[in-house]
Every structure is written in C-alpha cells, then in structure tokens.
Symmetry: C2
Subunit: 340 residues, 2 copies
C-alpha cells in the first residue's frame, strides 16, 4: 500500500499530471495534499471484512488510510451510519478519522436502494465540511461508484481534484457473469461512465484494469494510474511457520489444505475450488484421508439470495466430509489460515 501512497503524493507534487481540462484554476495550488476526504458510502472501514458488503475494499481503504497518515497526510473517511449508536466520528488510527454520515435508515437499506441516498450523503459530507476553514480538504478520493457520485459533487464544490477507484466495474462483471449471478444494473453502468469522465485520476489495480477502463468506459489513458495493491507484510508473513499456525487452528499437521478465503458470492467462484477438490478425490481416493477444504467467509451480495448453495454443492459433489465452513476472521487470524 505504501507504493500507492507515494504514487498519489507523487502525482500531486508534479502539478502537470493533475492539470486536466477544467481544473486549470488549480494549477497553482497543486501540492502534496495535507488532508484527504475519502469516501466509502456503502461499507464502513470499521466493519469486519468477509461478510455482507465488507471485503477487500474495506481492507484496502483502512490500510491505505493508515499508510497515508504515516507519511503525514491526514485522512477522513466518510461512511454511512448503519446503527444509531455510532458516534459522529471515530479515530481509526492516528491521523485517520472515520465520519459517520446519516443518510437513510440505519437498518434495512439494501445496496440497491443507496443511489436514492446519495444526495442525503452529500448533504452530510457538506455539513461536516462547513464546520472547517476554507480549503480544509485538498483532495477527494472515492471508492466504488456510489462514492464516486458524491465525490464528483464534493470535489467540484471544494475546487479540489477527484481521485477515484472503481474496485469492480459493472461492464466487466457483466461481460464475465458467473452462472446464476444477477447482472449489474444499468444505473451502475451509467454512474461509472459519468465518474470516468468526471474524475481527475482513476486508480487501477492492474494494467488489465487500466485497459478495461479504457476499453469499456472510454477512459482517457493519461487519467489512469496503475497502482498495484500492496500487502501488509507486518501481518502477512511466514512468522512462526505452517506447523505452528496449524496447531493454533486445530488443523492436522500433515493434511493437504486448499483454502478459499473471501465473501461467498458467485463472482468470487468458491465453487471452482469445490469442483477441483472433487476431481482430485476422484483421481486419488486415498487423498480423502488427509484432505481438508476450509471455506473462510460469510455469504454476501448476490450470494445472499442462496447462502446455503455452497453447502449443497459440497453435498452434491460428495465432498461434504472434507469441506469446512468457517465464519469470517480478523486479519491476524486470516494470516494464520494462509500460513497453514
């Protein structure tokens, strides 16, 4: 993630990179930002990743914010309040503040209903901003298209650049739709197209994602920056090794353990692992004695419609005895699963 932080900072300290059409008035102000307004409308960085709408993006935002703070860039993350007991602001780490914005009811609002709450969310962001001195935020960084629409208004209002990360793209998802998955709605495709036009900088995780932005959304190539997501090497490291991790997790020392970790939804295709495991067992029945297939994560998104689908698949494939379903775990525990 530190590569990301330095690239972002780098982009901004070389003003020509962000001097895009319509932003010429900002040229003189370009500099390393001191304070970033980060937008994460539909999922909170305080949520446990691995279930519901919280996953890799939450980890990404938290780690990025920490690293930015570590190099002296303050970050405020705006997210939608989903319970009434949340304080308006929570310090996630030194220099990283999470602001809870009231926009719609705390419970019972599906992700599909969030577009109708974007004005309310923007209103909450503006209210937080109104309490500050002019020029408080130097940059808006939005994640996922819902946040992008709020970021579009906020960046224009504040006269600062909009940096956007799609995380996933509707057209790309729809072009490779998993069997039984629901296509992403037109509203999202349209929304993403507008953000591609409005953003000053688009962050792609890979060169392929950059190509997809250009091919599917007609992004201007010069707006797209490829920044590979990092891994927190303080956490995800060999540490005391496989044997110790297996002991901690109560796993047999000599087992063959292919793992799925992530939210259970068709897009992430945990079924492929189950099919592979079934084929392995067909090819070598002796393997059954020592194979274990942990699935670590909760149901999510379109997977929520049939949360028991994967269990049923395991039964149908005749491998229910080797598959173990585990609820989502925190990052330290997840590192142990990877070690094991």
């Amino acid at each position: 993630m530190s590569q990301y932080a330095s690239r972002i900072a780098g982009s901004l300290s070389s003003p020509h990179k962000l001097r895009l059409p319509g932003l010429s008035g900002l040229a003189g102000r370009a500099r390393t930002p001191r304070r970033v307004a980060m937008l994460s409308v539909h999922t909170s960085p305080l949520h446990q990743p691995g279930t519901g709408d919280a996953g890799g993006m939450n980890v990404y935002i938290v780690e990025l914010a920490r690293k930015l703070a570590a190099i002296g860039v303050e970050v405020e993350i705006f997210t939608r309040a989903t319970t009434g007991t949340l304080p308006p602001a929570v310090e996630l780490a030194p220099g990283v503040l999470v602001r809870h914005v009231d926009a719609g009811p705390y419970e019972g609002l599906a992700k599909e209903e969030l577009p109708a709450q974007l004005c309310a969310f923007t209103h909450g962001v503006m209210r937080a901003w109104a309490g500050h001195r002019p020029g408080y935020y130097d940059l808006v960084h939005s994640h996922y298209w819902l946040s992008g629409h709020v970021g579009w208004l906020a960046a224009e209002r504040w006269g600062v650049p909009l940096v956007h990360a799609m995380h996933t793209m509707a057209k790309v998802k729809n072009a490779a739709l998993a069997a039984g998955d629901t296509p992403e709605p037109a509203a999202r495709v349209i929304g993403e197209t507008q953000i591609v036009r409005a953003a000053d900088r688009l962050i792609a995780n890979t060169a392929e994602e950059a190509d997809e932005l250009v091919r599917f959304y007609e992004a201007e190539r010069r707006k797209v920056a490829v920044v590979h997501p990092g891994v927190n090497l303080d956490r995800f490291r060999p540490a005391d090794g496989r044997a110790a991790a297996r002991a901690r997790l109560g796993l047999p020392a000599d087992a063959f353990i292919p793992l799925f970790a992530g939210r259970i939804q068709p897009l992430k295709a945990p079924d492929i692992l189950l099919h592979a495991a079934a084929r392995l067992l067909d090819a070598d029945p002796a393997l059954r004695r020592r194979m274990l297939v942990p699935v670590v994560g909760g149901p999510s998104g379109s997977g929520l419609a049939k949360p028991e689908k994967l269990q049923k698949l395991a039964a149908r494939l005749g491998i229910a005895d080797v598959v173990r379903f585990h609820p989502p775990v925190d990052q330290d525990r997840l590192a142990d699963w990877f070690r094991a």
Copy 2:
C-alpha cells in the same frame, strides 16, 4: 394558480413564517423572491401532458411558472434532458426559462433509475448557477420527491428556503393501492421523509393532503401550507358552449357522454368509469343508443406494463361499442372535451 403565487409571495414577505431552525441566518433576507429555481427532474414542462410521466404536475408547473412570472417573479425550471437535440435553455414564456440538464443518457432511463442520477442532476444545476452572480436564486421550489433531493442540496448550498410539493406520496399511494398496481419502493418513502424534514415549506393541494403529510410523514403542521390548485379560467371556460364543442369533436349533439381524461394507470382508476357505464347500460339498455364514453389519454407508469388492459376490460364488460380511446390532446382541445 394565482392564489398560489400570492400565498408563496405572502409567506416570504412575512419572514417569521420561514424563520425555521437552521435558517435563522436568512431572517434579514426574507422578502418576495425575485427569482425562483424550480426543479422538475423526471418530467419536462415542455412535454405534452397525458402520457408517459407527463400529466397534471406538468400542467401545474407550467401554469404556476407563468403566473409567478406575471407578478414579476422570474422562474427557471430545471429538467432532465431526454434528447440530444434540446438547447440548454428554452424560453417557455416571458420570464419563464426551462433549463435542460444533462444527467444520464437521453433515452432508455426508467423513472426507477433516476435516483442514481440525482448527483449528476445537482451537478448540472450547480453548473448553471455558477455562471451567475451570488444570490441569483432566492428560493428553490421542488416538485416530486426526486426533485426534492436535488432541492435539498441546492437550497443549502445557496442559503435559500426550500419549498416542496409532493404531488403524490408513496405511503398514501401504498395505503390505497389499486388492485394489480405495484407498491411504491422503500427508497421513495425514505426520500420523501427526508424532504419533509429538510423543506422549509411544504405545499399541499388540499387540507386532506396536509393531514396526510402530518399523519404519514410526521410533517410539522406549521411548515405545511394548503394551496388549492387553480384552474386556468382563460382556457377552461364555457366559451361557445357544449353544442359547438361537440360539433368540433365530431360528437353527436344529443349523446350522454361521461368522460375520462388523464393518464391511464390503475391509480387514476379509469376502470371505475367503465364499470359504471356497464351498470348504467344494464339498468337502462335503451341508453346504449345514445351513450358514448371517451377515454382521453395515453398509458403511463404502472399502466405501461399492460397498456391494453382497459380495452380488454371494455370488451369483457360488453361495452366496447360505446367506449372510444383517444390519444392525449393539448390543453385547448382538452377544454373542448370538458365542454362537450
């Protein structure tokens, strides 16, 4: 409609009426507004009422804007551009400007997908406003909940009061849902609730609608102003009388003509007229010779799913021979239908 105009002006010239919490800073500025930003996101005042999403609200907005302009209040109506050939601004009448805002594709965007376009629409409104001197608009008047959300942001941004008219309310519609009609979505209920809280003044058409605002949406009674919609008496008047109108419309001079005029959707219940006509014919078969039931208007909204439903009902009731379907007509022609 002139009653409306003078009431609005009256409300604003007595500042205590609009000095609501959070607006105390406006107290000294309260006055008859010189320029109103009117918001009509999902339907254009330039559209022919009687089909699709254009109906009574379009007539209401056009007539209100004209009357406000006639008493010296300039009106700018912001609506979503639905074809690429529209000029950015069109003068509807002296003092009434219609501004077309680009927000989403021109065609193929359903009303249900518009919530995702509210940030884009707000962006377009802000862009139009940015070209003006500060304090250009003195008041925001939004119509229907989609516009209300844009109005919420615009009014706060400009520091002016928000006047909102619901036109219809989801909770009220859902409480008296016509058979076979689809309930209004939760997103709309939530959106309306937020506008009730955010608006400085809510315009109800009737005392009953005012009660509904209080009962269903917990509106503060003092915020609600009842202003009965007017009728354009220059247009809807006896003129040269029934016989002349019938001659112009090609209707028999001595016929009995119960009329339905409006968009064909379950909520407006044109089926009741057909059932009533069938009963009349049952009771007095001789009536068949001289009865004619015109249905003037196009299919709309939830009626669009089954546009031929009313034709089928007429056939099933055995009165297809007396029912005549006519496409929507302009206001002058509509007055002739009423005369006839």
